[in-house]
């Protein structure tokens, strides 16, 4: 019998305190690309030290422990209500342990919801798979980064973006430029081309779960990812918007169909504290790390 509360509580603890190795490696690479003793090198080294400290202490990487979004892939007939309840219990337990800050406000009364659990909090998405194990991903996204996510509707005359991949590229560079000074760079872009507005944000967010070295299967999107990453880093915005060679650690793009009348480009921006972890839980309840 799978103990989902324990498994998910552990997943929250790891996600909040243990930055994925690929992100840590990317920060180290970025630091070594900067001149020794420069302000950008100092900022990146401080992020690296913070990452090591948080992992060693099991304490939050960032004080904004963010919105928690769980993505579950479950076998046919799986009890998703039980999973959602387990996720809520896990979030309350992680909050009580100090792994999550009291970070949830009732939008009408302005009051704090001290255990971070409410209708729709944490956010849970379910998809059915054809396997007999359960795959779970958790994304923790802070407010400063979520505030920088945006959606463009093409054509956009303000940035000269038409309804083609070059128009998409312009949107992405504009989004990176507007994020400077906010959203704690260097970060990652998750992008969805097409879809309706709501689906665009969901799919863009899911792109943030891809490993940093993952390249799109679609050659056109692979080229777009590569080009936008290089061009964004040539803007010189740098860590914390204080100048430097690394503004983005990755760009991950997917596409969906669209209506003839709409052409949305949706950008989910994630800061350096790109907290996401995945596990695969077999029928015996044994979790296996997916990062």
């Amino acid at each position: 019998m799978t103990n989902w509360v324990d498994i998910l509580t552990e997943l929250v603890h790891r996600t909040t305190s243990d930055l994925p190795r690929d992100a840590e490696q990317a920060l180290a690479t970025a630091a070594s690309a900067e001149a020794a003793g420069s302000r950008s090198a100092m900022l990146l080294e401080a992020l690296a030290e913070n990452t090591r400290l948080a992992r060693a202490q099991g304490s939050p990487l960032c004080q904004d422990t963010g919105t928690l979004t769980f993505f579950f892939d479950v076998p046919q007939g799986y009890d998703t209500l039980a999973l959602e309840n387990a996720a809520k219990t896990a979030v309350a337990a992680a909050t009580a342990n100090g792994w999550l800050r009291k970070n949830t406000i009732d939008s009408l009364s302005g009051r704090s919801i001290d255990d971070n659990v409410a209708d729709g909090a944490p956010v849970c998405h379910f998809e059915q798979s054809d396997r007999d194990d359960v795959e779970v991903w958790l994304l923790q996204k802070g407010g400063g980064s979520e505030n920088m996510s945006r959606q463009y509707s093409l054509p956009d005359s303000a940035i000269g973006a038409g309804r083609d991949l070059d128009g998409v590229r312009k949107c992405l560079l504009d989004a990176v430029w507007r994020t400077q000074g906010f959203g704690c760079a260097p970060g990652v872009l998750g992008v969805c081309i097409g879809a309706d507005r709501a689906e665009g944000f969901l799919q863009a967010k899911k792109q943030l779960l891809r490993p940093l070295d993952d390249v799109s299967d679609n050659p056109q999107l692979a080229e777009l990812e590569r080009r936008v990453l290089a061009e964004a880093n040539s803007l010189g915005i740098g860590p914390m918007g204080m100048g430097g060679k690394t503004t983005l650690l990755g760009v991950k793009v997917t596409s969906r169909t669209r209506l003839p009348a709409s052409f949305f480009v949706t950008v989910a921006y994630l800061c350096w504290a790109c907290r996401h972890r995945g596990i695969l839980v077999d029928a015996n309840g044994e979790p296996q790390d997916l990062n």
Binding site: R39, D64, G98, G144, W177
Partner: protein
Amino acid sequence: MSVMKELFYPFSEAAVKALRAGDTVRISGLVYTGRDRLHKHLAEGGKCPVQLRDGAIFHCGPVTVRDGDGWRVAAAGPTTSIREEPYMASIIGKYGVRVVIGKGGMGKQTLAACREFGCVYLQAVGGAAALLAKRIRRVDGVDFLDEFGATEALWHLTLDGLETVVGMDAHGNSVYDEVRRDSEQRLRELIG
């Protein structure tokens, strides 16, 4: 290779004026936290329970826990400073604040006040909660805890070598303006 400068409380006008935009600085000693509630309170002429002259205001809402008779910081991070732009310049002028610590930089009025009154704005490392908690050596006290709540309260913190970058100096220079200008020019080249 540039060397990190050191800044100690009390922050003298001369020490602050010696800093240039872009310098890396370790700051140590007493600082006071303040967010929206405190800035609004001070700018509207409310009473100030501490001596801000030659002191520092840190835009930060620490997560604190009771520790015996005192407090301990569990996590902390700089908060976005631009929200205090309507108040900052008058507070710097009226109270003689020498150092503002936060993230993201501030606007024209604050930059002008930094030059007029001899104050610097220091960028802390955004989101580095574990590191910042380690650099806060102790909590020396708190004001407005009941009135403003724990996040917005005026905490007295003693820092121990917190890593920062001079974002805005006392001579009218702003790294943020510089980076914005240069990156905008590059953006125009890339998107036409």
